[in-house]
């Protein structure tokens, strides 16, 4: 067979698979190129910072501290330090600072200000040093008094390797849902019609999702064992973390299964699931905290339910926070999982009608 014949065969093959090729050669590159707009800064410029203004602090004193932070972050006013610290643990803010009540007193020559960051928020540790440096130099240049800005780390300083353990586990769960589950379904396509004789397609799919969710216990235990062996202080078996991972898998597994059935187990469906996998990896704030991203990407991430699953896994496993702390977030992820059953059911109905 000559090269020309082979090339002609390839061309004919391409014409038959035009949809898949368009997906791989146009949509996928377009999505990746377009995603570049979501990355704007190397250092976080808009990370939310809690500025606590007590009752004895004037509006002008608060404004000066907020203005100093605004050059390098996004100050958010808090009335109580307890609320600010709670949000620090929940990654809603990345630093907490209290406005010194005597900042505006011309009689006072020196004031101290403490910027508190979370020791578990490893990626923010270095940027926070820069933040403190900028704030200190700005205030000392502009004010007539000496302002001593200190950085305080709440809890122990966690190593990056330890910080990333829950992140990698979540990545495994997402990959399991969007890559391995559709692959497994496609392999069993021929058996489905036989199974439907004895039971409903809904039951078959529900069993599959339940089995794979249970199967997640294996990587969970592996990660936990590695964490113990490495001496990481990470509680991956915390109930809130386990619940968040399971709900994430159910939601994403339902989406992936819906896509698989809707595409008739075709290549396009598998490629679309890969695209969804990248989307969830990119927009769940897995590795870097959400405060690191551009305002546009941050707004998107704040609307993605799996982001809250990640926050729950991180909060429960790294900080040993009780499950009740994450009740609303877990409830939101559960609702998301339930909602994703609707497209799944619709795709199953369509599949049955076609069959």
């Amino acid at each position: 067979m000559s090269l020309r014949t082979i090339l002609r065969k390839e061309l004919l093959w391409s014409r038959h698979r035009i949809l898949a090729l368009l997906f791989v050669l146009v949509l996928l590159p377009g999505a990746f190129a377009g995603a570049s707009v979501f990355f704007q800064h190397v250092l976080p410029k808009d990370a939310p910072v809690a500025v606590v203004a007590g009752e004895d602090v004037s509006e002008e004193e608060y404004d000066v501290v907020a203005a100093s932070f605004r050059l390098f972050s996004k100050p958010i006013q808090y009335d109580s330090e307890a609320a600010a610290m709670r949000d620090l643990e929940r990654e809603s803010v990345y630093a907490v600072v209290s406005v010194p009540p005597d900042l505006g007193d011309p009689e006072v020559e020196r004031v101290n200000m403490t910027v508190t960051i979370d020791g578990d928020m490893t990626p923010y540790r270095e940027p926070s040093q820069a933040l403190v440096s900028v704030v200190a130099s700005t205030m000392n240049r502009q004010l007539d008094k000496r302002v001593v800005v200190q950085r305080e780390i709440a809890g122990e300083e966690r190593k990056l390797s330890s910080y990333l353990l829950p992140t990698f586990l979540t990545i495994i769960v997402l990959t399991f849902a969007f890559a391995y589950l559709p692959y497994n379904l496609a392999r069993e396509e021929a058996v489905l019609d036989r199974l439907r004789v004895e039971t409903s397609l809904d039951t078959v799919v529900a069993g599959k999702l339940a089995f794979f969710t249970a199967l997640l216990a294996v990587p969970l235990l592996v990660f936990h064992a590695v964490g113990l062996a490495m001496g990481y202080d990470v509680s991956l078996l915390a109930p809130a973390a386990v619940a968040a991972l399971a709900l994430t898998f159910l939601a994403c597994g339902a989406i992936a299964t819906a896509v698989t059935f809707a595409s008739g187990f075709g290549t396009t469906g598998r490629l679309f699931n890969v695209l969804l996998l990248f989307a969830f990896l990119g927009f769940s704030g897995l590795v870097y905290p959400v405060g690191f991203f551009s305002p546009l990407r941050r707004d998107i991430i704040r609307r993605v339910p799996t982001h809250y699953a990640m926050l729950t896994v991180r909060g429960a496993s790294l900080r040993d926070l009780p499950a009740a702390e994450f009740g609303p977030w877990l409830g939101g992820v559960a609702l998301f999982a339930l909602a994703m059953l609707v497209p799944l059911k619709l795709s199953l109905l369509a599949y049955e009608r076609r069959a």
Binding site: D63, L71, V134, T138
Partner: protein, 372 residues
């Protein structure tokens, strides 16, 4: 009256009437068209980085306003947002005491030049001759002028000082001075020479003068109709390097400023001076950069509010607004004439100081001080 005489009378009346109408039409046609409003940018050569106008008549109407204006014109250069012209030494504003120059005859002064270079001049609309200007400049500093004639325009050049040229007699155009307001170019030799080239092209109906245009002209037009209007193109080299926000601020492209008198009811009754409203437009590369500039200006306001003990000033400070519209930041201030100087200079002095803020080199500084 016989029919012939009647016809003759009617014909005569019609002839007289027609003659009157024709004579009136001729008179109307011969009457010179009213002068067009003074448009400063029409005389500014292309390639300028900044262009600004001062309505000197309005400026002189209140000594407090003039103080405020002079200080305010400098405020941006105080933070090195641009390398502005040496306004304080302008003949129209502060002529030498021993010069026989009627400074009050100057109605408009237009500034133009290039950022960070000695290139710059001002176009003065005044009832001055070239000798009036050169004598005043010689009175300020001992300099001698040599004359150069180009297509009917005379340029008075000094070896190490400013040049002077009369560009227009103000009434009919052309190089020959006559009674009435004139347009004089006073400043750096190259800038005056370019201004003369523009005047030559303007006097030639077939030539197209190369005047400032494009975005800078549009930015200048955007400064509204204040008695001080200023717009400049941003040179990256002159932008301060703010820590972490520096790269964003480096993208500032154009700045436009206008000062208007806000005639309040109290001012109309004569019980209070009018407020001065200042609007500054800072256009940067994108909305995010504009946001950074707003943060810097906002920080200046916060620091000033905390440290000032002047209650009136605090009231004015609280009214200062910084609004981002697309990639343009609008900074609005309103103040009494006496307070404007303190308000605006204080605001910019209280801004977070950039890391790379260094004093200008002696060469540039000397050039800026060149009298004109």
């Amino acid at each position: 009256m016989s029919p012939d005489r009647l016809a003759l009378t009617v014909a005569g009346a019609v002839t007289l009437l027609l003659g009157g109408v024709c004579a009136g039409a001729v008179l109307l046609v011969d009457e010179p068209a009213p002068p067009e409003p003074y448009e400063p940018t029409e005389n500014v050569p292309a390639g300028a980085d900044y262009v600004g106008t001062l309505n000197a008549t309005e400026y002189r109407s209140d000594p407090a306003v003039s103080n405020g204006t002079r200080a305010s014109l400098r405020f941006q250069s105080a933070v090195q947002f641009y390398d502005g012209p040496p306004h304080l030494r302008a003949l129209a504003l502060s002529p030498p005491e021993n010069a026989s120059l009627n400074a009050s005859a100057a109605s408009h002064v237009t500034y133009f030049g290039r950022s960070g270079e000695p290139y710059g001049a001002r176009l003065v609309v005044a009832n001055w001759t070239a000798s009036d200007a050169t004598d005043a400049l010689a009175a300020r500093r001992d300099i001698e002028f040599e004359t150069e004639t180009r297509r009917g325009f005379t340029i008075y050049r000094s070896e190490r000082g400013p040049s002077v040229a009369v560009l227009d007699n103000g009434g009919e155009g052309g190089p020959i001075p006559s009674e009435g307001p004139r347009l004089l170019a006073i400043g750096n030799g190259s800038a005056v020479s370019d201004a003369v080239d523009v005047a030559i092209a303007r006097s030639d109906p077939e030539a197209t003068p190369e005047t400032v245009g494009g975005e800078l002209r549009r930015r200048y037009a955007d400064t509204d109709d204040g008695y001080v209007r200023f717009a400049y193109r941003f040179r990256p080299a002159t932008v301060p390097d703010y820590p972490f926000v520096g790269p964003a601020v480096r993208t500032v492209e154009y700045v436009g400023t206008s000062y208007t008198l806000n005639e309040t009811a109290a001012a109309a009754n004569g019980t209070a001076p009018p407020d001065i409203r200042v609007r500054i437009r800072i256009t940067s590369e994108d909305a995010e950069s504009a946001d950074d500039v707003r943060n810097i200006l906002g920080a200046g306001k916060s620091f000033y509010l905390l440290q000032s003990s002047n209650r009136t000033l605090k009231v004015e400070l609280r009214k200062a607004a910084f609004t981002v519209e697309g990639r343009t930041l609008l900074a609005d201030y309103e103040s009494s004439p006496g307070g404007l100087r303190v308000l605006v200079r204080g605001l910019f002095r209280n801004q977070p100081e950039p890391q790379s803020l260094t004093r200008p080199s002696p060469e540039i500084d000397t050039a800026r001080q060149e009298p004109a």
